[in-house]
Symmetry: C2
Subunit: 470 residues, 2 copies
C-alpha cells in the first residue's frame, strides 16, 4: 500500500517535471521562432551580426599575430572595446560614435595631460587635490552639456567619452608614470578600432541611415495614402462588402499609425544621417532636417485620418440617398488626395521634381470645391427629395422628407475632415517641394519615362523586398 502511494507520488512528480520541461521547451521554441521570423523578414540584420563578428575577428588578429602584438601592446584591449562599443547598425550611427569617440578622447587626453602638468608644478601635496577638483568640475560640466538639446543630438557620446578619458588620464596620471605613452597607445588603438569599424560598416552591405530615413518617409506616405483610400471606401461601402473583416485590408487601413508613431526613429535617423558621406543619390550636405518637417506634416495629416477612421466606426448610419449623392464626390476627393500623396512618393523615390504635382493639387482642390458645391446644393434636396429618392412612396408633403440634421452629422464630419486632410496634404506637398529645392532634385523630363524610372529606381530590389514584408 505504502509502496503504491510512493509510486503514485513519484509518478506525479515525474508528470509535473515533464510538463515543466515541456512548457520551458515551448517557450524557448517560440522565442527561436520569433528570432527566425525577424531574420527572415530583415536579412540585413543578420548580415549586420556577421559584420560585427568579422570586425571583432579582424581586431583579434592584432592579439593573435605575434608581430602585431608586439607593436600595439597590451592596450590592444582598447581596440576590442572600441569595436564592440562603436559598431552600430547604420553607417551614420557608427560614424557618429567613431568621430565622437576619437574627438572626445583626443580633447580629453590633451586637456588631461595639460592639467596633470599644471598640477605637478604645484607640488606633490596639492596634486591630487587639484586633479580631484578639476575632475569634479569638468565631469559635472560635461554631464550638464549632455542635457542641452543641440549638444545631445550631436555630441552626446563624445561628451561621455570626454568625461571617461579625462577622468582616466587625470586619475591614472597620478600613478602611471608613462602618461604620454599611455595616451599615445590609447589614441592609436582607438584609431585602429574605429577604422576597422568604419571600413567594415561601409564596405560590407552598408546600411545608410539617410537611405533608411528616405525609405521610411516615403513608405509612410504610401501607407497614409492607402489608409485614406481604405477609410473612405470602407465608409461608403460598409454595408456592401465585408471588407473590414479582411485581414490585409484592415492592416492597410491602419497604415496611418506608422506615420503617427515614427517620430522617434525619424529623429534618430536624421541625426545619424548627417554624419554620413555622400552615398547613392545623397550628397554630404543633403537636407536631412527637411525630412523631419515632411514627417511632421505627415503626422499632422495622419491625425485627421485617425479621426476619420473613428467616424467610420461611428454608430450612426447616413441615409441612403445622401450616401448615394456624396459617395462619388467623396471617393473622388479621397482618390485625388491619395493620388497627390502617391505622386509625392514618386517624386521622392526618383528624386526628380514632378510637373504633375501642381496639376494634381489643383485637381484635389477642385474636388474639394466640388464637394462644397454638392453641399451647397443640398438644402433644396433636403426639403423635397421625393422627386429623386423617395418616389416609391409617392408622398408629396415636403416636411416628412426633411432629413433630421443629426443624420447629416456623420456625413458633414466626413466631408469636413476630408477637406481638412486635403489642406494638410498641401502642407506635405509644400514640405516635399522645399526638400526638392534644397536637395536640388532635377525636373522630371517626361512622365512616361518617369513611370518607367519609377520601377528601376534608386532603391535596390533587395531593400524593396524587405520593405514590402515590413
Amino acid at each position: 500500500m505504502a509502496n503504491e502511494k510512493e509510486c503514485g507520488f513519484v509518478h506525479g512528480v515525474y508528470l509535473q517535471l515533464q510538463s515543466l520541461i515541456a512548457s520551458f521547451w515551448s517557450r524557448i521554441w517560440r522565442f527561436l521562432e520569433k528570432a527566425w521570423e525577424l531574420g527572415a523578414s530583415e536579412p540585413r540584420k543578420v548580415i549586420h551580426c556577421l559584420k560585427v563578428g568579422v570586425a571583432l575577428s579582424l581586431v583579434s588578429l592584432f592579439y593573435y599575430m605575434r608581430p602585431l602584438y608586439d607593436g600595439v601592446g597590451g592596450t590592444a584591449m582598447w581596440a576590442v572595446m572600441t569595436v564592440v562599443v562603436v559598431f552600430e547598425y547604420t553607417v551614420g550611427a557608427t560614424l557618429y560614435k567613431c568621430i565622437n569617440r576619437a574627438t572626445g578622447t583626443f580633447l580629453a587626453g590633451s586637456l588631461g595631460i595639460g592639467v596633470h602638468w599644471v598640477a605637478s608644478q604645484s607640488g606633490e601635496k596639492f596634486e591630487p587635490i587639484i586633479a580631484g577638483i578639476l575632475v569634479f568640475i569638468l565631469a559635472s560640466a560635461a554631464t550638464y552639456s549632455r542635457f542641452i538639446p543641440s549638444i545631445k543630438a550631436r555630441f552626446d557620446y563624445g561628451a561621455m567619452i570626454f568625461i571617461l578619458t579625462f577622468s582616466l588620464v587625470s586619475v591614472a596620471g597620478y600613478r602611471v608614470e608613462k602618461l604620454f605613452e599611455m595616451a599615445h597607445n590609447r589614441v592609436s588603438t582607438i584609431v585602429l578600432g574605429t577604422s576597422i569599424c568604419i571600413f567594415t560598416s561601409m564596405l560590407i552591405c552598408p546600411v545608410w541611415a539617410g537611405n533608411e530615413l528616405h525609405l521610411l518617409i516615403y513608405r509612410n506616405m504610401e501607407k497614409l495614402a492607402d489608409s485614406l483610400d481604405g477609410c473612405v471606401a470602407e465608409y461608403f461601402n460598409r454595408d456592401g462588402t465585408a471588407k473590414s473583416s479582411d485581414h490585409d485590408f484592415g492592416k492597410k487601413m491602419q497604415g496611418y499609425k506608422c506615420a503617427l508613431n515614427s517620430k522617434a526613429s525619424e529623429e534618430s535617423m536624421a541625426n545619424f544621417a548627417r554624419w554620413e558621406p555622400a552615398h547613392g543619390h545623397f550628397n554630404f550636405q543633403h537636407p536631412w532636417k527637411q525630412y523631419l518637417k515632411i514627417g511632421a506634416a505627415m503626422r499632422n495629416c495622419a491625425c485627421c485620418v485617425e479621426s476619420l477612421s473613428g467616424c467610420v466606426n461611428s454608430q450612426i448610419r447616413i441615409p441612403e440617398f445622401l450616401k448615394k449623392n456624396f459617395s462619388e464626390v467623396c471617393m473622388r476627393l479621397s482618390s485625388h488626395c491619395s493620388e497627390v500623396l502617391r505622386e509625392l512618393v514618386v517624386t521622392m523615390k526618383t528624386m526628380t521634381k514632378s510637373s504633375m504635382t501642381d496639376l494634381l493639387v489643383e485637381d484635389m482642390n477642385f474636388a474639394v470645391q466640388e464637394l462644397q458645391n454638392a453641399l451647397k446644393a443640398l438644402p433644396n434636396q433636403l426639403i423635397s427629395p421625393h422627386g429623386s429618392v423617395n418616389d416609391a412612396k409617392g408622398d408629396t408633403t415636403s416636411k416628412q422628407f426633411i432629413v433630421p440634421v443629426i443624420e447629416i452629422v456623420p456625413l458633414a464630419t466626413t466631408i469636413s475632415l476630408l477637406s481638412e486632410i486635403a489642406a494638410r496634404i498641401e502642407g506635405i506637398v509644400d514640405a516635399v517641394d522645399d526638400l526638392a529645392d534644397l536637395a536640388g532634385f532635377k525636373p522630371a523630363t517626361d512622365n512616361k519615362s518617369k513611370q518607367s524610372q519609377c520601377t528601376t529606381d534608386i532603391i535596390d530590389d533587395e531593400t524593396m523586398k524587405v520593405l514590402q514584408k515590413v
Copy 2:
C-alpha cells in the same frame, strides 16, 4: 598714399576681426544663456551633474589613497569606467545598466574562462582558431539578440557588455596568463563602481523613472483637459474676445501636442521603472506597462483634439443663431469631458480610487445625449427660426430662413468630434481604472478630504514647481 591705403586695409581687417569676435562671443553668450535657462527650469539636472562629480570623486579615492590602491590594483580603471558609463539621470536607468553590466560581465566571464579551458585542452595550435570561431559565433548571436524587441527592451546593454567581456576574456586569455585574477579583478571593480553609482543615485536627491512616468502621464492629462477646454471656448467665443493672441492661452491650447509626442519617453521610462525598487507610493511590481496603455488612450484622444483645433481654425463661420443654440451645450460637454480628465488626474495624483469618476462619466454621457437631442430638435428650427432669431426682419416665409447645410458642417464636425472625444475619454477612464485595480489604489474615503489631500499629495513641492515651469 600707399600708407593711407595700408592704414585703411589694416583698419578693415581690424573691423572684420572685431565683428567676427563679437559674433563668436554672442553665440557663446546665447549658448550659455540657454544652458542657464535649462538649469534654472530644471534644477534636478544640475544636481544630477554634481552627483556624477561626487561619484567620480568617490571612485577616484581608490586611486589616490595608497592602501586602497594596493588592494584594488591597476584595474581600478574599470571602476572609473563603470561609473562614467553606468551613471544615468534616473535611478531606474542606472539600475538597469548596473544590473545588466554586472550580469553580462559575470556570464561572459565564466563562459570565456570555460571556452579558454576547452580550447587549451585541444593543443596550442588549435587554441586561437577555436577561440576565434567562438568569438565570431557568440558575438554574432548576441548582436542578433539585440534586435529582438523583448531582449532589446530589457537586456540591450547587457548583451553589449556580454560581447565585450567575452571578446576581451577569450582574446586576452590567449596572452594573459593570470586569467582568473583578471576576471576576479574586473568583477570586483565593477561591483565597486556599480555600488557607488547605485548609492549615489539612490541616496542623493533620487530621480525615479517611475515617479517621472507617473508625473508625465497625469501632467499630459491635465494639458489635454486644458487644451480641450481652450479649443471649444476659442471656437464659440472667437469673435468675442481676442484670446488666441494671448500667448499663454495659445500655449495652453497646444497642450495636446505633449500627449501626442511623448510616446518614446513614456516607453523608455516604463522600461527603466521596472528595474526600480519600491519607492514613494510605488511597489516593486507596480504595473508600469499599464501607464503605456493610458498614454496610448491619451494619444488617441489627443488626435481628435488636434482635428478639433483644425476645425477651430477653419474659414467657415457658423451662423450666429446656431452658435447661440449650441455654444452652451457644447461648452457644457467639453467642460464635462475635462472634468472627467481632471478627476482622473486627481485619482492618479492621490493614488486613490475616486467615487466621483463614474458620476462624472455619466454626466459626460448625459451631456453627449443632450447634444444629440439638441441636434434632433434642430430641423424645425432650421425651417422656421424666425420666431426665435430673425424676428427683427419680420419675414414670414419659411424658405429664406433655411440654413444651407454647408453652414451646419463646421458645427456638425465640432459636435461629432466632441462626441468622439467623449468616447475616447471613456477609453482613458477604463485604462486608469485598470491601473487602479492592478496597482491596488485605495478607495477615497471622502470627497472633501480628497480635495485637501490633493494639495498635499505624494509629489513633493519642489517637483511640482519644476513641472509648473515645464
